[in-house]
């Protein structure tokens, strides 16, 4: 083992930077930076961020890259981006922190996974003036993360294959045999299924979909983007669980798709959080604010689901969106997975 590694070590010795700094370059701790509410908050953050000079971000949501690039240019801060699926993010973050390696400043993930990071004691409570701009439920009581985006589970249909007058108004309408061979869901949407079951009752949800699947079948597709693309191409005439921004973005490219809001309507919040061992707490805090403020406009422009009440988006006039509870989603995860598998994916045809 040593024979192999020794030469590498020599070459790369300079790349070693294992020291975990708990205070920023301006001498304040992460907690001090994150909870400071004085009038000069913004000025101190900018000042500290410039001294820190760089910022490390783990994320899975595509819009984060755009926001980070804009932020980096605005403040002259070097951004280190790492992107992975939400499960890979959790694995990387927990493995790194268990090994005492603290590379990360800002964590983006699903709200349930971020709640897991709360339990791992990795996150910092934050007091940001921009919290008050957000919709109700976007910031949990412990204030260790904030929802910056809503992934609203939405149906989507191909406008060439489904006539407007034929559109279902409720899930019950999908029992009509005219939907035979036309329906599809995403393969890992147990969170949607769990929320739906909790809302209309597990038994009701199961029986309803049993009948729908028995009458009309159900195709199961891996990935929301693929499913949305399949709707655009005509392969799937009616998808039940894409994200509301999927059809919006495809429409912009000229694809024959529309979103359709079947009730009850659920949103899975995506969240931003500050690491409590951040190396660049000022830059991290500044970016956190940016995401909840200027970043929200960038998100609306790209058709995503901003959570700021100050920003207009395609979700603006959609009534009755229910936020999926992160704690419940995390605690029920295994059960919901199993339920979704038994009630839907295994029966796909």
């Amino acid at each position: 083992m040593f024979n192999y590694i020794a030469p590498l070590t020599l070459v790369l010795a300079h790349a070693l930077a294992p020291v975990a700094a708990q205070t920023g370059k301006d001498g304040r701790t992460v907690a001090q930076v994150a909870t400071y509410e004085g009038a000069d908050r913004q000025a101190r953050l900018i000042d500290g961020a410039k001294k820190e000079g760089e910022l490390s971000i783990y994320y899975s949501h595509p819009i984060v890259k755009t926001m980070a690039d804009t932020f980096g240019q605005k403040y002259g801060i070097k951004i280190k981006l790492w992107r992975g699926g939400s499960e890979a993010i959790m694995q990387r973050v927990t493995a790194e922190s268990r090994a005492g390696r603290h590379e990360l400043d800002v964590l983006f993930s699903t709200s349930a996974d971020t709640e897991a990071a709360v339990r791992e004691k990795l996150l910092q409570e934050v007091r940001s003036p921009f919290h008050q701009d957000l919709i109700a439920g976007a910031v949990p009581a412990h204030r260790q993360w904030a929802a910056f985006n809503l992934d609203v589970f939405t149906a989507s249909y191909n406008t060439k294959l489904v006539k407007k007058e034929d559109l279902p108004k409720t899930y019950q309408d999908l029992l009509d045999p005219k939907w035979k061979g036309k329906l599809a869901v995403e393969a890992n949407d147990h969170v949607w299924w769990g929320a739906l079951s909790a809302d209309i009752g597990e038994e009701t949800a199961r029986k309803l979909f049993d009948s729908i699947i028995a009458t009309n079948g159900m195709s199961v597709r891996k990935g929301h983007s693929l499913l949305a693309g399949m709707v655009a191409s005509g392969e799937v005439p009616m998808a039940l669980t894409v994200y509301s921004w999927n059809p919006e973005q495809l429409k912009r490219k000229g694809a024959p798709v529309e979103g359709l809001y079947l009730r009850p309507l659920f949103a899975y919040p995506a969240s931003v959080a500050l690491m409590n061992k951040a190396n660049s707490p000022n830059a991290a805090m500044l970016f956190y604010d940016f995401v909840l403020n200027e970043g929200q406009k960038l998100m609306a422009e790209a058709d995503y689901g901003p959570t700021s009440k100050k920003v207009d988006s395609h979700l603006r006039n959609v009534q009755g969106i229910k936020l999926i509870d992160a704690v419940q989603a995390l605690d029920q995860q295994e059960r919901w997975m199993k339920m979704y598998e038994d009630s839907v994916t295994k029966k796909a045809k």
């Binding site: 590498l8 790349a15 595509p62 890259k65 493995a95 339990r119 693929l226 995860q333």
Partner: protein, 576 residues
């Protein structure tokens, strides 16, 4: 392992120092690379998930829940059927093509070697989606065309079925069979075939009784690789099986990993049955190796593998080539090329024709991490392919040519990482180097290490295949002429191994470019690789941009493969 070998080295005379240094080093590297993830896998399979406030505890529950339910049996059943179908199909196709290419005088075959690896080059998700666009009952171009032709709405081809899965995955991996079997056929002494021909045997008899039987070790190795790879494959079952409720074993592994706390232990317990299957297969091959003399085709007697004159039949084989190229290589490629010129995928029509644009290409070329990713991927692919093939050539030599005790264990160690789920391998390497900080975490080196581990088993199979064909007498005469072990290995063994070495090298280059599941945990800002870019585009639903990338991928790798072939021809020792 290492200690056995080093102890055995003591009595050797001093002139053999280089030999034992190289052997010792190779053994150490292999043992280290393999034991880290394998040890991690077994260790984790005995632990409960680790979460905040709940430390991991020793348990057998993972095995109980993995194999206790009826679900596992049905998942495993699906997987076995899928793997068997895929490997037989890929093998038959690849071997037929390899035989035509290496052993017959079929026209156009020089073009063929490079083109035949195209299916392997296309990223799996892209290849599968291309086939959805071709073979779906609703929008599949093949169905639409045939339906228009016969004026019916009959579905000719349904890609969403077990057969569809076998078809797509088999096609995708037929180049694996093609590469190994080509290497085997190339090193074949034609005198046996010629004697058969003179005794009045037909081409078919010769092909079956002589050519094929002589390449039995290669055939076995090919089937082994194809089978195990198909069992652990994810893309095709996820995109073609899931829609119609066909679930496979890997979906269970996927589910176990994709939750918090991540059930790595359960995933590992699932993977252990794959470990068992692979171990049996490798044992099977070692049984064949033990009777290696039967399959020796490269001896001290000079020969040049002449090709068989097929007579009029060569028109038929040429037609098979063209058919294969058109249907398997060109068709998916054209679908990709078509969609790469669109703004979103639309079935070809006049309207869609008007919407054509080069934007996807512009998008990809201006993608921020694109150039870094290309450089990193090239470095990693070339580096890992070269390292894998060189290290495994030494290991194979030990396993096949020596009588060292414990060499079977070495064979197993170097081959078993083939069954590790990519994410588990990535985790193992990550956790190891986080805790033994030697400065490679967060650099390209950790990726290189993971790639070498992941693809070492393939190097083993490619090299073993060629190694078995080399007769002992060549080494003996080199040593009798006073050559050192190093000189003998460098100037006799490696050049004679060349067909397997080059084929394996090409394979590892291609699969390294595509590796995603380990890379995703191990890359860091600055060490992005191409497969990550592919994945990002995929996740963001940028299928047309992804198609553009795929088209560029194919063109670039084709150039690379052709160059490798030319270089091999020019600088290598003359064709044996």
């Amino acid at each position: 392992v290492s200690s056995t070998v080093t102890r055995a080295s003591k009595p050797a005379d001093t002139g053999l120092d280089a030999k034992w240094l190289v052997i010792g080093l190779s053994v150490l590297v292999v043992a280290f690379l393999a034991l880290v993830p394998l040890g991690y896998l077994i260790w984790q399979s005995l632990l409960t998930p680790e979460a905040a406030g709940a430390p991991a505890l020793l348990t057998l529950d993972n095995y109980r829940s993995a194999y206790g339910g009826a679900d596992t049996a049905s998942l495993l059943g699906n997987s076995l059927l899928f793997a068997a179908g895929t490997s037989v199909f890929a093998f038959v196709l690849g071997t037929l093509l390899a035989w035509m290419n290496e052993r017959t005088n079929t026209p156009f075959k020089t073009l063929f070697y490079a083109l035949s690896v195209v299916p392997l080059i296309i990223p799996g998700i892209l290849f599968t989606v291309a086939w959805i666009l071709l073979g779906s009952p609703k929008i599949g171009l093949v169905n639409l065309l045939l339906q228009a032709l016969f004026g019916t709405d009959y579905v000719f081809f349904n890609i969403y079925s077990m057969w569809g899965m076998v078809w797509v995955d088999g096609l995708h991996y037929s180049p694996v069979a093609f590469l190994i079997m080509s290497a085997a056929f190339r090193s074949m002494d034609p005198s046996l075939e010629e004697s058969a021909l003179m005794s009045g045997a037909s081409v078919r008899q010769i092909a079956w009784h002589i050519t094929f039987k002589l390449s039995w070790p290669a055939a076995f190795a090919t089937m082994l690789i194809l089978f195990i790879r198909a069992i652990e494959s994810f893309e095709v079952p996820a995109l073609l099986g899931l829609p119609v409720g066909i679930q496979v074993f890997t979906s269970a592994i996927y589910q176990a990993i994709h939750q918090y706390p991540s059930k790595i232990g359960l995933a590992s317990a699932y993977a252990s049955v794959l470990l068992l299957i692979a171990a049996l297969g490798i044992y099977g091959q070692s049984v064949i190796s033990r009777r290696s003399r039967r399959y020796v085709t490269v001896t001290g007697k000079g020969f040049r593998p002449r090709t068989m004159d097929l007579g009029h039949w060569r028109h038929l084989t040429a037609a098979v080539f063209i058919f294969y190229l058109a249907l398997i290589v060109l068709l998916p490629f054209l679908v990709l090329a078509w969609s790469s010129l669109q703004k979103f995928y639309a079935v070809p029509s006049l309207e869609a024709l008007r919407n054509m644009s080069l934007d996807p290409y512009r998008f990809v070329l201006s993608y921020p991490s694109f150039s870094t990713a290309v450089c990193n991927s090239l470095l990693l692919a070339l580096g890992s392919a070269t390292l894998v093939m060189l290290i495994t050539s030494v290991v194979c030599w030990i396993v096949v040519k020596t009588r060292l005790p414990g060499r079977w264990l070495l064979d197993q160690l170097a081959s078993l990482p083939i069954v590790l789920p990519g994410l588990v391998l990535g985790l193992a390497v990550m956790v190891f180097f986080l805790n033994f900080n030697v400065g490679i975490y967060g650099t390209l080196w950790i990726l290189l290490l993971a790639y070498v581990t992941r693809f070492m088993p393939y190097g083993m199979r490619y090299n073993t295949t060629s190694m078995l064909q080399i007769h002992q007498e060549l080494e003996d005469s080199a040593q009798m002429s006073g050559a050192s072990w190093g000189a003998m290995f460098w100037r006799i063994v490696l050049p004679l191994l060349k067909p397997g070495l080059v084929a394996g090298w090409i394979f590892v280059v291609i699969v390294s470019m595509r590796e995603l599941s380990s890379s995703i945990l191990l890359y860091s800002p600055g060490s992005e690789v191409l497969s990550i870019v592919v994945w990002e585009l995929w996740e963001a639903g940028q299928f047309v941009e992804l198609s553009a990338l795929g088209v560029m991928f194919i063109v670039a790798l084709l150039i690379l493969v052709v160059a490798a072939q030319l270089v091999g021809r020019r600088f290598g020792v003359k064709e044996v």
